[in-house]
């Protein structure tokens, strides 16, 4: 299978209080320069006429680009890629920044899946999150995307927000499902270092969601989505069968993908590539005719095993044992059978003939499950 392609657009209208992804506010001239540099990086990184398995444009805010800039980006992609097979092509959309012209430009580019960053429908929480849109904006943006012919829709919601109650969260989720989305991503609010929100937390201005409530929301999500025909297929992701995000599945199974753009990461046969989180440095390197990648690290066998479990156990189907053997170079049971045995006894992990996976209980404490397994790997290494 051909590698997938990820394109990072590190620009935003304004930086949200919870966000620590690589992004910033920039002017139109910077964006033009950025698109030209994307062109150069694609030329260096991508075999001419590559037919990527999937494409994903993320950010930042890709829809921060003007309709004209999106068209330009579409032309750039068209020069380097063969999209004739109509691969899954997702673009992250901030509802407040979408216009009918932008939606049309995206559709022309080949985008067939819109990942709508709604986060919440509740005006109070939107304000708390510094999200620059109002209630009602999301519905309008979804209509625009559909109008332009983007067929698949996914809605991003956040939960475990400071002060959020279980009924408030359930209302948000029901409203998202009522829009007829076939895919929902539910992300628990995380307090990341160096964000406005974390500073507020340190000052005591916001209270984190209690663990019990977060757990209740996590469990309610499975129930409510299930009633609407969407099943949990990853810790944070729900889909109507067949509508799972294939691009993200490449990440979770540590397939191959090429990362393009400042701050983008890629993975080719177990080697991680990382671009600098500095769009000027990245542009300058490409303008000088060379790649800006700062890191290329081939994972050691132990790291490969660890990374595969770290990503793969997030999937409800778990990690395919054959894939583990091929990727890590050894049998799963040989590497971490002891820890796995303890976890099975605790009812957190289970084996199928082909896979190892978390139970429902195990998924709730996945990070600890992975630490247990990884520590076992360490002892043996």
């Amino acid at each position: 299978m051909q590698p997938s392609l990820y394109i990072h657009i590190p620009f935003c209208v304004k930086k949200c209080g919870y966000c620590d992804f690589y992004s910033g506010v920039a002017g139109d001239a910077d964006i033009d320069r950025y698109i030209a540099a994307l062109d150069r990086e694609l030329a260096l990184m991508v075999p001419q006429g590559l037919a990527p398995a999937t494409v994903f444009i993320g950010g930042g805010t890709p829809t921060r680009l003007s309709a004209g800039q999106l068209q330009q980006l579409g032309q750039v992609l068209g020069r380097h890629l063969d999209l004739s097979a109509g691969p899954e092509f997702t673009c992250e959309i901030n509802p407040a920044t979408l216009t009918p012209a932008k939606a049309k430009a995206l559709a022309q580019m080949g985008v067939n899946r819109a990942s709508m960053g709604v986060q919440s429908f509740d005006p109070h929480f939107l304000r708390e999150l510094d999200r620059a849109h109002e209630a009602g904006t999301a519905e309008a943006a979804i209509a625009m995307a559909r109008e332009a012919g983007i067929a698949r829709l996914s809605v991003d919601l956040m939960f475990a927000l400071p002060g959020q109650t279980l009924p408030q969260f359930e209302a948000d989720l029901r409203q998202a499902l009522a829009l007829g989305t076939s895919h929902v991503s539910l992300y628990a609010l995380t307090f990341e270092d160096d964000t406005t929100l974390t500073r507020k937390l340190q000052l005591g201005q916001v209270q984190p969601c209690p663990e019990d409530l977060e757990r209740a929301m996590f469990e309610a999500a499975g129930r409510i989505c299930g009633q609407a025909g969407l099943h949990r297929y990853e810790v944070s992701n729900f889909a109507v069968p067949g509508q799972e995000c294939r691009h993200n599945l490449v990440y979770w199974t540590l397939g191959d993908w090429i990362g393009i753009g400042a701050g983008a990461h890629g993975m080719l046969d177990g080697t991680i590539t990382a671009n600098p989180k500095d769009f000027r440095a990245w542009c300058e390197a490409l303008e000088a005719g060379r790649l800006a990648a700062i890191g290329q690290s081939a994972m050691r066998p132990q790291e490969r095993a660890e990374a595969l479990l770290l990503m793969g156990l997030r999937l409800v189907q778990g990690v395919e044992l054959a894939r583990f053997r091929a990727f890590a170079g050894a049998d799963f049971t040989a590497l971490c059978g002891q820890a796995a045995g303890r976890l099975v006894e605790l009812g957190l992990l289970e084996f199928t003939p082909t896979h190892v996976r978390c139970t429902e209980q195990g998924l709730l404490v996945l990070d600890s499950v992975v630490v247990e397994l990884a520590s076992d790997l360490e002892v043996r290494a």
Partner: protein
């Protein structure tokens, strides 16, 4: 200076509570010394401070020789330093035995404090002539008369004997110098008798080895003499003698009555004992030692274990190095079921323990687990023999002994009279026996209790400070051992006995204390993937139980996209945290949990 006739020598120390102005007064005496050029004094003082900062060590003279002219006559004053804290009571008493007199300094803005009382008693016991000084009389808050009254009431010092002074302005210094000459007797001794010198302090120096401070009682000490230590029996050749003034000043000899330092190539401070007598090696069997020598006796014990078993040897080296410069600290290897191989260390007191532990962590750079401190106990076995128990885990089954005895202290507390009731309550809650109360005036009182040492080593001082709004001070001295109804409380985590957490308590308090330790453990041990049971037991009988429920949720529900390295970093962080914990019965126990017993708030017992 051996040329000084004895009648011109005055040996004395300054006793004072912390912050009552001891070092400022010492600086004033330094300035008054005829041998010191004022400009040089300032420069040299500063130089030595810079050096301290640079090398990160403390170069501190334990005795300083001050040539002094008083009423046109020349004298040699030897000012001997005494450690300020009660933990070092024995060292203080030895330093006092090197003196004939003491300046008792009381801050008139604060009045007599508990430590003043303890130090005064020691000075009186050492037969010192005391010159009472009322300090800080230049300050508005000064209450000279009340301080004089207190001194009369507590020590029987007549107000007329008290000299008002100010270390800050130099007020009263000439009177103090005259009083030192007039009231403190010159040393006595036989210059023609064989050498007898008291070791009153010793400092380890990286370059010179051990610097021994002595007071020559009889005879003299000089380079190339073969000397012997009475108690340890070790022999050395004297390399250098001298006095400390501004830095070390070499002398040809230290004569009878003199105070100074001796360097004789001693590599470890363990080879000498404070309070021991130095004699000539050739006569060491004939000479009777000076009275009062004791081997330093630790009062508080705690375990130190490496987090990683492989660090055991590195820890041993660290302890060895520390013991070169600290003779009163002991360590012996021990094995704990829960913590593996480590050391049981003995300290003079809690402050001493904190100092040593801090130094050890800083200098060795090791990750260490410290267990809660305990006192030592004596058990009287069925066969009539006695045994010393330094660790709760070592206490045998009650059927193996007739009685168990614990150390008792006399505790002096000075408190505002308004807090007497609360102080009484606190002391009685801790099994204290009220003995005496004295009103000091200025709305303050001196309370005396007899109380088990074990009851005051945890958070007693903090509690005292809190109930007296910061005004209470305390001091204690060990007075003996007494039998008590004590039991060993075992603590179990996930069904496994954690010997490092077991403790000895009075039967009456065993259950409530056990329960509180469990509650504290419940807070300290993080949730696991399974339920953890915590139990306290006396013998086979469970007296308290708690549970730590299993982890409810621990999953990052966040989209890191294709950023695998970021997720890997999070995993590394969690793995590192796990590695720092001690594994007990499959439970990861953080280091702090071993101090749970220390943090038990004993309110309401």
């Amino acid at each position: 200076m051996s040329s000084n006739p004895l009648q011109h020598i005055r040996n004395f120390c300054i006793i004072a509570h912390i912050d009552h102005g001891k070092s400022t007064l010492a600086d004033r005496l330094l300035q008054a010394s005829s041998a010191v050029d004022q400009r040089k004094l300032r420069e040299q003082t500063m130089d030595s401070m810079d050096l301290e900062r640079e090398r990160g060590i403390t170069i501190k003279a334990k005795a300083i020789a001050l040539p002094m002219v008083v009423d046109d006559k020349e004298y040699l004053f030897n000012l001997i330093d005494t450690p300020g804290h009660v933990d070092f009571g024995y060292e203080v008493s030895r330093a006092m035995h090197a003196c004939e007199g003491a300046l008792a300094l009381v801050d008139t803005t604060q009045g007599i404090q508990a430590q003043t009382v303890a130090n005064m008693y020691q000075a009186i016991a050492a037969d010192l002539h005391v010159i009472p000084l009322a300090n800080k009389v230049d300050m508005i808050a000064s209450r000279l008369e009340e301080t004089q009254q207190e001194m009369e009431q507590v020590f029987g010092i007549k107000p007329a004997e008290v000299i008002g002074c100010s270390g800050k302005t130099g007020l009263g210094v000439p009177e103090i110098l005259r009083a030192i000459v007039a009231r403190i007797p010159a040393p006595t001794g036989d210059p023609d008798a064989p050498l007898k010198a008291l070791i009153f302090d010793a400092v380890y120096d990286d370059y010179r080895g051990v610097v021994v401070y002595v007071r020559v009682r009889d005879g003299f000490i000089e380079p190339r003499q073969k000397i012997a230590m009475k108690a340890t029996g070790k022999e050395f050749e004297v390399l250098e003698v001298g006095v400390a003034r501004m830095g070390f000043v070499k002398q040809d000899r230290l004569g009878t009555g003199c105070v100074g330092y001796v360097i004789c190539g001693i590599k470890s401070i363990q080879d000498i004992g404070v309070g021991d007598t130095i004699t000539l090696a050739s006569l060491k069997d004939q000479i009777t030692p000076l009275p009062g020598y004791k081997k330093p006796q630790p009062m508080v014990y705690a375990g130190i274990y490496p987090t990683q078993a492989s660090d055991f040897e590195a820890l041993r080296k660290g302890l060895q190095k520390l013991s070169l410069s600290d003779s009163s600290f002991t360590y012996v290897p021990e094995q704990s079921g829960a913590l593996g191989y480590g050391f049981r260390c003995g300290y003079l007191g809690l402050l001493h323990m904190e100092i040593v532990q801090e130094r050890l962590e800083r200098e060795s750079g090791l990750e260490l687990v410290m267990t809660a401190p305990n006192v030592h106990y004596e058990i009287l076995k069925q066969d009539g023999t006695q045994e010393r128990i330094e660790c709760a885990a070592h206490l045998p089954d009650p059927t193996h002994y007739k009685e168990i005895r614990e150390p008792l202290v006399r505790l002096n507390i000075i408190t505002p009279t308004g807090s007497i009731g609360d102080v009484m309550k606190l002391a009685l809650e801790r099994r204290g026996l009220y003995q005496n109360q004295e009103h000091l005036g200025q709305g303050r009182a001196l309370l005396t209790f007899k109380i088990p040492l074990s009851e005051i080593i945890f958070d007693f001082f903090d509690r005292l400070k809190s109930i007296t709004h910061g005004y209470g001070t305390m001091d204690y001295e060990v007075v003996g051992f007494e039998a008590a109804d004590l039991v060993k409380v075992r603590i179990m985590v996930a069904g496994e006995d954690v010997d490092a957490l077991s403790f000895i308590a009075h039967r009456q308090f065993a259950e409530s204390r056990g329960r509180k330790v469990l509650i504290k453990l419940r807070e300290e041990i993080p949730k696991h993937l399974f339920v953890i049971s915590l139990q306290a037991a006396i013998g086979g009988k469970i007296i308290a139980g708690e549970k730590i429920s299993s982890m409810g949720k621990n999953v990052t529900a966040k989209c890191y996209g294709g950023d695998v390295s970021r997720k890997k970093k999070l995993l590394e962080k969690q793995k590192k945290g796990k590695a720092r914990m001690k594994m007990i019965g499959g439970v990861e126990v953080p280091q702090d949990a071993f101090l749970a017993i220390l943090k038990v708030d004993q309110d309401g017992e």
